[in-house]
Symmetry: C2
Subunit: 543 residues, 2 copies
């Protein structure tokens, strides 16, 4: 089944008080299918353009199809990004324009994490994005990991530069250069900072949000006097990310430790949160690195300890990026389009007023405005779609496609009975629709808040069930291969070599996503070698 | 007089609940004097380092001098940035690391403007920073203005790129490339967006905050159906900036129109807010451009109007950057250091507990904590400096240098009388000190809020008086030259040619800062030509 959506000349999205002057974004469906992007995402969907008349005006309207998720996951993903106006392609291969609706999701992520970072003792600051090339070369595994992906500035102010400048792919090197100047004694520690910034990695295969040439992220960097403190910090931050994923994004990530092969270039240990997307592929959604003394030794970042001895600091770094927006789309979306968890939805409730006779219009709009005011005052992000250029049915489809958690319908009869109709985005059709919800402010506010909480839990519950039913416990390489070939995640005891790990990747396409923190009890035998194993690992194909 | 400040191993700056694990930044005074920065700011101040003993521990302490402002304004500026830990130099010439205390001021600017931008109908989004070189060439005056300042990426992923990429110096070109794809009919207008981003301009003479190779800013971009709407928008946004400057930053900017010579490369008209720094030089603190159809013609950004005719859109762009932080420092600072307007101060009130006997310590700290809690609950940004590694006197100096508007002192006698001592940063010595302010929560809260308001007004009033006493009305070029040579601003009627304007610049070093919106009544005669003039212009030397 193809869901047809006739998109409007949007009159207003976020700003309700200025709705009549709000920008209108009309998109071209085919844009997100440009061949410059990864060839594996070249699925075609039916795109037609028609001319339509609205209010007697000649007006371009586009009929568009969101490819059903079950039919072609990647085509669906690109369609949703396009139709819900989350992003568009930039003019340079692999770059992305983050559009207001997509950016608002990123802002919700920022707002939450920014508070948590400050609560856990970090301050925001900003490092320059141009890094001398020589810095990147100082930490051996770091340069090996990043040099194939670098963008280099070679000309500045019309002149060839003496030293090429790297456009930051990550900031450990420049951070350490500065830390070396700021840190002198144990009294200067811990040093705990974060920056919100853009980063550049010259990726060959790109995909909106998931992997782009330039992306936005936060990167935390800390320095400590002891390895224990650094380890504690790295764990604390992966925990902040895990809580964010569960409680805000309703994504039941699996937190754990990366294998040596998959550890960040320059880290001693990398912790990760791994999310299962709707196609069962894994998405690395956030990482926290214990850097040990790798960078402090490379950059001479030392302090005088309490006994007067010079020591290199112990460090961490940790990051979450706009990739997470891709994770939200691919975790919760369905055939109808986007489905947003209430806590990160730019619009939590959309009100669609319904009238047929002109007589009814004023009274319905009046009631709709009152309801909007009630919810707005209660701190709920609400949008009243009062344009008369679209039918209510069209609006229903449109806001469902945009993933708005709750819809309130108000018609003349509802006004008479002082009630509204409320529909849940996550429960389609009549089952998700409740009639006769009282308009009485306190009661309505309580009802809506309750429903939003319910949707938030429901999305997490659904994603958790999906995840759990898609992880197979395996005890042998044969079982692992079967699980992976069925598109699932395989979990099994592992103590084999890096070479064995690479063999699994070559033969199955799956990698170790992590050794999860939550480990089963009991004696374990490595699925590959039959040797004793201390931990189970999770294998999966990934983005 | 040189104010000597012995700086601490700072134990905590912002995060009060985590003060014991807060990063410590120790700086090196000489850093902000590196020769890589503009040679005109090479003044030396006395920098000595000593080893000191604190609590029986060997600990590095730095004696440092903030050069008096009256002695050498530029040296003072760099000293304040260094001592107050606002910024440091990056490893690449002309780049700057914005440190937590400086970044917190930028965050205060962002928090205020972000709300105003949304209230006036704009949405945030994000455009890629890499712009194909060919884009920059499309608008003739734009390429002329920006091409000497470009940083170019020529290598990506190890390969020479086919087309050089410009690291954005501003985004009009890429914005228009995208607008052309999004805008079709008048229903798509107005299109009003903003982005918070980093930008790069390969400046030869740099100065922290004021002019750096890379800086942070917001850039608004809008498209409209009529020239009137675009003009209204450009004016609206310069008005937002003006209000921000007056009401938040306590900077009495003069808003007006730039001369043709000083208009933004690609704009039809540029509006500006011009601020007078403590050395009477002008700082262009924010601009709003009416771009007319210059970019829409260059990029073919057209819409179908209500009559079915194709038209190019009318556009604006407007920006404020981290340069504004420099403006705040140079407007309000004094010989003692930074002086921050309460509404943008990261710390509004610092509490310094005072005790001599160990018996008193607990009771004093207890009272100090209560006071902190009271103020924090009231939404005041408060810091309790409870370290016992520094004397109260040292703390007084330190927090004065950091520009904290109010200081609360609490000693054993104050606890007995249930009162505190409150000192204003903007009124030095005994005059700014009030004894016996009641600790009673409601009363204290009201008192502190009242004082903060008073300081806010007082800073604006002082800056306004300074500004007004430094602007000279001139009627001839001779008078203008005298005024400029005295370091003042000259205001006089002007209707002369661009050539005359450039002559003034060559002969006096002053440029037309703006034709102010507020114009005197009466007949005007051009100070240069004696011809009739419609407006007065303001001439000044500038940063």
């Amino acid at each position: 089944m193809v869901v047809n959506l006739r998109l409007p000349a949007l009159t207003s999205l976020f700003t309700t008080s200025f709705s009549n002057r709000y920008p209108v974004f009309v998109r071209r469906s085919q844009q997100l299918r440009r061949p410059v992007f990864s060839s594996s995402f070249s699925a075609q969907s039916t795109v037609t353009k028609t001319e339509d008349r609205v209010d007697g005006q000649r007006n371009r309207v586009q009929d568009r199809a969101v490819t059903p998720r079950s039919q072609d996951f990647n085509a669906w993903y690109l369609d949703v990004i396009d139709s819900a106006e989350l992003a568009d392609y930039g003019p340079v291969r692999g770059t992305m324009v983050i559009r207001p609706y997509g950016y608002a999701i990123w802002e919700a992520i920022q707002d939450y994490l920014n508070v948590k970072f400050k609560e856990t003792g970090h301050s925001n600051m900003y490092f320059p994005q141009f890094i001398p090339y020589s810095f990147i070369e100082k930490e051996a595994s770091h340069v090996e990991g990043f040099s194939p992906e670098l963008a280099l500035v070679t000309i500045g102010g019309g002149k060839e530069l003496e030293e090429k400048l790297v456009v930051r792919p990550t900031s450990e090197t420049i951070v350490n250069h500065m830390f070396t100047q700021w840190i002198h004694s144990y009294r200067d520690l811990p040093l705990m900072i974060n920056q919100w910034a853009n980063v550049t990695r010259w990726e060959m295969r790109t995909k909106p949000f998931v992997r782009t040439l330039e992306f936005l992220w936060q990167e935390g960097h800390t320095a400590h006097a002891t390895p224990e403190e650094a380890e504690k910090e790295a764990m604390q931050m992966i925990d902040v990310y895990t809580k964010f994923a569960y409680e805000q994004a309703a994504i039941p990530v699996i937190a754990g430790r990366k294998s040596k092969v998959e550890t960040f270039a320059g880290a001693v240990r990398t912790y990760t949160i791994e999310a299962m997307m709707g196609d069962r592929k894994a998405l690395q959604a956030g990482t926290s690195h214990n850097l040990g003394q790798n960078f402090s030794c490379a950059f001479g970042t030392q302090f005088t300890d309490e006994n007067g001895q010079r020591q290199h600091v112990w460090q961490t770094s940790w990051a979450i990026s706009t990739r997470f927006v891709g994770g939200i789309i691919m975790t919760h979306g369905d055939d109808t389009g986007l489905m947003l968890p209430p806590r990160i939805a730019p619009i939590q409730v959309v009100i669609v007023p319904i009238w047929k006779k002109d007589d009814d219009k004023a009274v319905v709009l009046d009631a709709a405005s009152s309801v909007k005011k009630v919810l707005q005052t209660a701190g709920i992000k609400v949008k009243l779609d009062d344009t008369d250029q679209r039918t209510p049915g069209w609006k229903f489809n449109f806001w469902e496609m945009k993933g708005v958690p709750l819809r309130i319908e108000i018609g003349p009869r509802d006004v008479s009975s002082q009630s509204v109709v409320i529909s849940r985005r996550d429960v389609p059709g009549k089952q998700g629709k409740v009639f006769g919800v009282s308009m009485e402010p306190l009661s309505l506010e309580a009802y809506v808040k309750d429903k939003l909480d319910e949707i938030q839990s429901s999305l997490l519950g659904r994603a958790t069930s999906f995840r759990d039913s898609s992880i197979v416990d395996v005890t042998s390489y044969e079982e692992l291969k079967v699980a992976i070939s069925e598109g699932k995640w395989a979990r099994g005891p592992w103590s084999a070599s890096d070479a064995d790990e690479l063999k699994v990747k070559e033969e199955t396409g799956a990698t170790i996503r992590c050794f999860p923190f939550e480990q089963p009890q009991g004696v374990k035998t490595c699925l590959m070698t039959g040797n004793p194993a201390e931990e189970v690992a999770i294998f999966a194909k990934s983005y």
